[in-house]
Subunit: 148 residues, 2 copies
Protein backbone atom coordinates (compact mmCIF):
# COMPACT_ATOMS: atom_id res chain seq x y z
CA UNK A 1 0.00 0.00 0.00
CA UNK A 2 1.24 3.46 -0.89
CA UNK A 3 1.41 5.77 2.13
CA UNK A 4 -1.39 8.35 2.35
CA UNK A 5 -0.34 11.84 1.18
CA UNK A 6 -0.76 14.85 3.45
CA UNK A 7 -3.80 16.90 2.57
CA UNK A 8 -3.95 20.69 2.60
CA UNK A 9 -7.23 22.58 2.55
CA UNK A 10 -8.11 26.15 1.64
CA UNK A 11 -11.38 27.97 1.10
CA UNK A 12 -13.00 31.36 1.23
CA UNK A 13 -16.14 32.12 3.26
CA UNK A 14 -18.40 30.65 0.57
CA UNK A 15 -16.47 27.36 0.66
CA UNK A 16 -15.94 27.26 4.42
CA UNK A 17 -18.72 24.85 5.35
CA UNK A 18 -17.88 22.31 2.67
CA UNK A 19 -14.18 22.56 3.62
CA UNK A 20 -15.02 21.77 7.24
CA UNK A 21 -17.17 18.81 6.24
CA UNK A 22 -14.51 17.36 3.91
CA UNK A 23 -11.78 17.88 6.50
CA UNK A 24 -13.76 15.85 9.04
CA UNK A 25 -14.28 13.14 6.42
CA UNK A 26 -10.60 12.74 5.51
CA UNK A 27 -9.63 12.71 9.18
CA UNK A 28 -12.00 9.74 9.55
CA UNK A 29 -10.21 8.17 6.56
CA UNK A 30 -6.86 8.51 8.37
CA UNK A 31 -5.24 11.36 6.47
CA UNK A 32 -3.14 14.07 8.11
CA UNK A 33 -4.60 17.48 7.37
CA UNK A 34 -3.35 21.06 7.23
CA UNK A 35 -5.97 23.82 7.09
CA UNK A 36 -4.91 27.15 5.56
CA UNK A 37 -8.29 28.84 6.27
CA UNK A 38 -10.70 30.53 5.90
CA UNK A 39 -11.75 30.10 9.50
CA UNK A 40 -15.40 31.22 9.30
CA UNK A 41 -18.14 32.32 6.92
CA UNK A 42 -17.14 35.99 7.29
CA UNK A 43 -16.41 37.49 3.87
CA UNK A 44 -12.78 37.20 2.70
CA UNK A 45 -11.02 37.21 -0.69
CA UNK A 46 -10.56 33.70 -2.14
CA UNK A 47 -7.37 34.98 -3.76
CA UNK A 48 -5.68 35.17 -0.33
CA UNK A 49 -6.09 31.44 0.36
CA UNK A 50 -4.49 30.06 -2.78
CA UNK A 51 -0.73 30.51 -2.24
CA UNK A 52 -0.53 28.78 1.18
CA UNK A 53 -2.13 25.69 -0.39
CA UNK A 54 -0.01 25.86 -3.55
CA UNK A 55 3.20 25.99 -1.46
CA UNK A 56 2.29 22.78 0.38
CA UNK A 57 1.26 21.04 -2.86
CA UNK A 58 4.59 21.93 -4.48
CA UNK A 59 6.23 20.18 -1.51
CA UNK A 60 4.19 17.01 -2.16
CA UNK A 61 0.84 17.44 -0.42
CA UNK A 62 -2.49 17.01 -2.18
CA UNK A 63 -4.63 20.16 -2.16
CA UNK A 64 -8.34 20.82 -1.83
CA UNK A 65 -9.64 24.32 -2.58
CA UNK A 66 -13.28 25.33 -2.16
CA UNK A 67 -15.03 28.58 -3.01
CA UNK A 68 -18.55 29.41 -4.16
CA UNK A 69 -18.16 28.23 -7.74
CA UNK A 70 -14.57 26.93 -7.68
CA UNK A 71 -13.77 29.12 -10.69
CA UNK A 72 -11.73 31.81 -8.93
CA UNK A 73 -9.70 29.21 -7.04
CA UNK A 74 -8.94 27.25 -10.22
CA UNK A 75 -7.81 30.37 -12.09
CA UNK A 76 -5.45 31.41 -9.29
CA UNK A 77 -3.99 28.01 -8.43
CA UNK A 78 -3.19 27.22 -12.05
CA UNK A 79 -1.06 30.37 -12.31
CA UNK A 80 1.77 28.25 -10.84
CA UNK A 81 4.00 25.79 -12.69
CA UNK A 82 3.69 22.31 -11.26
CA UNK A 83 0.09 22.87 -10.21
CA UNK A 84 -2.69 20.94 -11.90
CA UNK A 85 -5.84 22.26 -10.24
CA UNK A 86 -9.03 20.61 -11.44
CA UNK A 87 -12.47 22.09 -10.89
CA UNK A 88 -14.72 19.04 -10.61
CA UNK A 89 -18.51 18.84 -10.54
CA UNK A 90 -18.82 15.08 -10.12
CA UNK A 91 -16.82 11.93 -9.43
CA UNK A 92 -16.33 11.20 -13.12
CA UNK A 93 -14.52 14.53 -13.56
CA UNK A 94 -12.48 13.80 -10.45
CA UNK A 95 -11.47 10.46 -11.96
CA UNK A 96 -10.52 12.05 -15.31
CA UNK A 97 -8.56 14.76 -13.51
CA UNK A 98 -6.36 12.10 -11.94
CA UNK A 99 -6.05 9.59 -14.80
CA UNK A 100 -5.43 12.16 -17.56
CA UNK A 101 -4.25 15.33 -15.82
CA UNK A 102 -2.39 14.07 -12.73
CA UNK A 103 -4.29 16.75 -10.83
CA UNK A 104 -2.74 17.68 -7.48
CA UNK A 105 -5.45 20.11 -6.34
CA UNK A 106 -9.14 19.23 -6.31
CA UNK A 107 -11.26 22.38 -6.65
CA UNK A 108 -14.92 22.34 -5.65
CA UNK A 109 -17.71 24.93 -5.76
CA UNK A 110 -19.81 24.76 -2.59
CA UNK A 111 -22.76 26.46 -4.30
CA UNK A 112 -22.69 23.99 -7.19
CA UNK A 113 -22.29 20.56 -5.71
CA UNK A 114 -24.28 18.47 -3.26
CA UNK A 115 -22.44 17.25 -0.19
CA UNK A 116 -22.58 13.57 -1.15
CA UNK A 117 -21.22 14.31 -4.60
CA UNK A 118 -18.42 16.43 -3.11
CA UNK A 119 -17.43 13.54 -0.83
CA UNK A 120 -17.53 11.15 -3.81
CA UNK A 121 -15.31 13.55 -5.79
CA UNK A 122 -12.78 13.68 -2.98
CA UNK A 123 -12.76 9.92 -2.42
CA UNK A 124 -12.29 9.29 -6.14
CA UNK A 125 -9.62 11.98 -6.40
CA UNK A 126 -7.61 10.48 -3.55
CA UNK A 127 -7.87 6.90 -4.80
CA UNK A 128 -7.30 7.22 -8.56
CA UNK A 129 -3.76 6.95 -9.93
CA UNK A 130 -2.38 8.90 -12.90
CA UNK A 131 -2.32 6.84 -16.09
CA UNK A 132 0.95 8.19 -17.51
CA UNK A 133 1.42 7.14 -21.14
CA UNK A 134 0.33 9.71 -23.71
CA UNK A 135 -0.79 12.12 -21.00
CA UNK A 136 2.69 12.71 -19.55
CA UNK A 137 4.04 14.65 -22.52
CA UNK A 138 0.87 16.78 -22.73
CA UNK A 139 1.20 17.71 -19.07
CA UNK A 140 4.90 18.52 -19.37
CA UNK A 141 4.07 20.96 -22.15
CA UNK A 142 1.74 22.89 -19.80
CA UNK A 143 4.69 24.14 -17.79
CA UNK A 144 6.54 25.31 -20.90
CA UNK A 145 3.84 27.35 -22.59
CA UNK A 146 5.04 30.82 -23.57
CA UNK A 147 3.60 33.71 -25.56
CA UNK A 148 6.82 34.26 -27.54
Amino acid sequence: MTPKPSLVFGSDHAGFELKELLKAKVEEWGYSVKDCGASSTDAVDYSDYIVPVVKEVLKGAVGILVCGSGIGMSIGANRFKGIHAALCCDAFMAKMSRTHNDANILVLGERLIKTDEAVACLETFLNTPFENGRHTCRLEKLDHLTLS
Copy 2:
Protein backbone atom coordinates in the same frame (compact mmCIF):
# COMPACT_ATOMS: atom_id res chain seq x y z
CA MET B 1 -25.79 47.95 -27.96
CA THR B 2 -22.21 46.96 -27.26
CA PRO B 3 -20.45 45.64 -30.37
CA LYS B 4 -20.02 41.87 -30.46
CA PRO B 5 -16.49 40.72 -29.49
CA SER B 6 -14.45 38.54 -31.82
CA LEU B 7 -14.48 34.91 -30.79
CA VAL B 8 -11.49 32.57 -30.93
CA PHE B 9 -11.87 28.81 -30.73
CA GLY B 10 -9.41 26.06 -29.90
CA SER B 11 -9.80 22.36 -29.19
CA ASP B 12 -8.01 19.06 -29.32
CA HIS B 13 -9.34 16.00 -31.16
CA ALA B 14 -11.67 15.13 -28.28
CA GLY B 15 -13.22 18.59 -28.39
CA PHE B 16 -13.25 18.96 -32.17
CA GLU B 17 -16.88 18.07 -32.82
CA LEU B 18 -18.28 20.33 -30.12
CA LYS B 19 -16.00 23.15 -31.31
CA GLU B 20 -17.36 22.82 -34.85
CA LEU B 21 -20.94 22.82 -33.62
CA LEU B 22 -20.43 25.89 -31.41
CA LYS B 23 -18.59 27.72 -34.20
CA ALA B 24 -21.56 27.22 -36.53
CA LYS B 25 -23.89 28.45 -33.78
CA VAL B 26 -22.02 31.71 -33.12
CA GLU B 27 -21.70 32.38 -36.83
CA GLU B 28 -25.52 32.18 -36.95
CA TRP B 29 -25.56 34.65 -34.04
CA GLY B 30 -23.47 37.11 -36.08
CA TYR B 31 -20.07 36.83 -34.39
CA SER B 32 -16.79 36.90 -36.27
CA VAL B 33 -14.81 33.74 -35.55
CA LYS B 34 -11.17 32.67 -35.60
CA ASP B 35 -10.44 28.95 -35.38
CA CYS B 36 -7.02 27.93 -34.05
CA GLY B 37 -7.65 24.18 -34.56
CA ALA B 38 -7.66 21.25 -34.11
CA SER B 39 -8.85 20.52 -37.61
CA SER B 40 -10.05 16.91 -37.20
CA THR B 41 -10.60 14.12 -34.69
CA ASP B 42 -7.05 12.80 -35.26
CA ALA B 43 -5.19 12.62 -31.95
CA VAL B 44 -3.24 15.78 -31.02
CA ASP B 45 -1.98 17.33 -27.76
CA TYR B 46 -4.45 19.79 -26.23
CA SER B 47 -1.45 21.70 -24.86
CA ASP B 48 -0.56 22.83 -28.41
CA TYR B 49 -3.88 24.65 -28.94
CA ILE B 50 -3.84 26.88 -25.86
CA VAL B 51 -1.33 29.63 -26.67
CA PRO B 52 -2.86 30.69 -30.03
CA VAL B 53 -6.20 31.25 -28.26
CA VAL B 54 -4.60 32.98 -25.25
CA LYS B 55 -2.78 35.43 -27.56
CA GLU B 56 -6.04 36.51 -29.21
CA VAL B 57 -7.83 36.80 -25.87
CA LEU B 58 -5.07 39.03 -24.51
CA LYS B 59 -5.75 41.28 -27.53
CA GLY B 60 -9.45 41.50 -26.62
CA ALA B 61 -11.16 38.47 -28.16
CA VAL B 62 -13.32 36.08 -26.16
CA GLY B 63 -12.00 32.50 -26.14
CA ILE B 64 -13.64 29.09 -26.23
CA LEU B 65 -11.50 26.02 -25.51
CA VAL B 66 -12.82 22.47 -25.72
CA CYS B 67 -11.14 19.18 -24.86
CA GLY B 68 -12.43 15.88 -23.51
CA SER B 69 -12.92 17.01 -19.92
CA GLY B 70 -11.89 20.67 -20.18
CA ILE B 71 -9.45 20.16 -17.31
CA GLY B 72 -6.21 20.19 -19.31
CA MET B 73 -7.27 23.29 -21.23
CA SER B 74 -8.20 25.15 -18.04
CA ILE B 75 -4.89 24.32 -16.37
CA GLY B 76 -2.87 25.53 -19.36
CA ALA B 77 -4.84 28.68 -20.19
CA ASN B 78 -4.76 29.91 -16.59
CA ARG B 79 -0.95 29.81 -16.60
CA PHE B 80 -1.14 33.29 -18.18
CA LYS B 81 -1.71 36.60 -16.40
CA GLY B 82 -4.82 38.33 -17.70
CA ILE B 83 -6.52 35.04 -18.52
CA HIS B 84 -9.59 33.95 -16.56
CA ALA B 85 -10.45 30.58 -18.06
CA ALA B 86 -13.57 28.99 -16.58
CA LEU B 87 -14.39 25.31 -16.95
CA CYS B 88 -18.20 25.25 -16.97
CA CYS B 89 -20.56 22.29 -16.78
CA ASP B 90 -23.82 24.22 -17.05
CA ALA B 91 -25.26 27.65 -17.77
CA PHE B 92 -25.33 28.62 -14.09
CA MET B 93 -21.55 28.15 -13.90
CA ALA B 94 -21.16 30.14 -17.12
CA LYS B 95 -23.19 32.96 -15.57
CA MET B 96 -21.13 32.91 -12.34
CA SER B 97 -17.90 32.86 -14.36
CA ARG B 98 -18.89 36.15 -15.99
CA THR B 99 -20.55 37.96 -13.07
CA HIS B 100 -17.92 37.06 -10.43
CA ASN B 101 -14.78 36.11 -12.37
CA ASP B 102 -14.94 38.25 -15.53
CA ALA B 103 -14.00 35.07 -17.39
CA ASN B 104 -12.58 35.67 -20.86
CA ILE B 105 -12.24 32.02 -21.90
CA LEU B 106 -15.09 29.52 -21.65
CA VAL B 107 -13.75 25.98 -21.27
CA LEU B 108 -15.96 22.99 -22.03
CA GLY B 109 -15.48 19.23 -21.82
CA GLU B 110 -17.05 17.52 -24.82
CA ARG B 111 -17.25 14.20 -22.97
CA LEU B 112 -19.03 15.80 -20.01
CA ILE B 113 -21.69 18.06 -21.40
CA LYS B 114 -24.72 17.59 -23.64
CA THR B 115 -24.82 19.67 -26.78
CA ASP B 116 -27.84 21.74 -25.69
CA GLU B 117 -26.22 22.53 -22.36
CA ALA B 118 -22.97 23.53 -24.11
CA VAL B 119 -24.89 25.92 -26.36
CA ALA B 120 -26.70 27.34 -23.30
CA CYS B 121 -23.32 27.81 -21.56
CA LEU B 122 -21.94 29.69 -24.53
CA GLU B 123 -25.02 31.89 -24.98
CA THR B 124 -25.02 32.77 -21.26
CA PHE B 125 -21.26 33.37 -21.28
CA LEU B 126 -21.50 35.78 -24.20
CA ASN B 127 -24.47 37.70 -22.81
CA THR B 128 -23.62 38.12 -19.12
CA PRO B 129 -21.69 41.19 -18.00
CA PHE B 130 -19.11 41.28 -15.21
CA GLU B 131 -20.53 42.67 -11.95
CA ASN B 132 -17.43 44.55 -10.82
CA GLY B 133 -17.76 45.71 -7.19
CA ARG B 134 -16.16 43.40 -4.64
CA HIS B 135 -15.03 40.99 -7.36
CA THR B 136 -12.62 43.41 -9.05
CA CYS B 137 -10.06 43.48 -6.24
CA ARG B 138 -10.17 39.67 -5.89
CA LEU B 139 -9.46 39.26 -9.60
CA GLU B 140 -6.63 41.79 -9.58
CA LYS B 141 -4.94 39.80 -6.82
CA LEU B 142 -4.89 36.69 -9.06
CA ASP B 143 -2.30 38.29 -11.33
CA HIS B 144 -0.07 39.22 -8.40
CA LEU B 145 0.13 35.90 -6.59
CA THR B 146 3.71 34.88 -5.81
CA LEU B 147 5.35 32.12 -3.83
CA SER B 148 7.80 34.47 -2.10
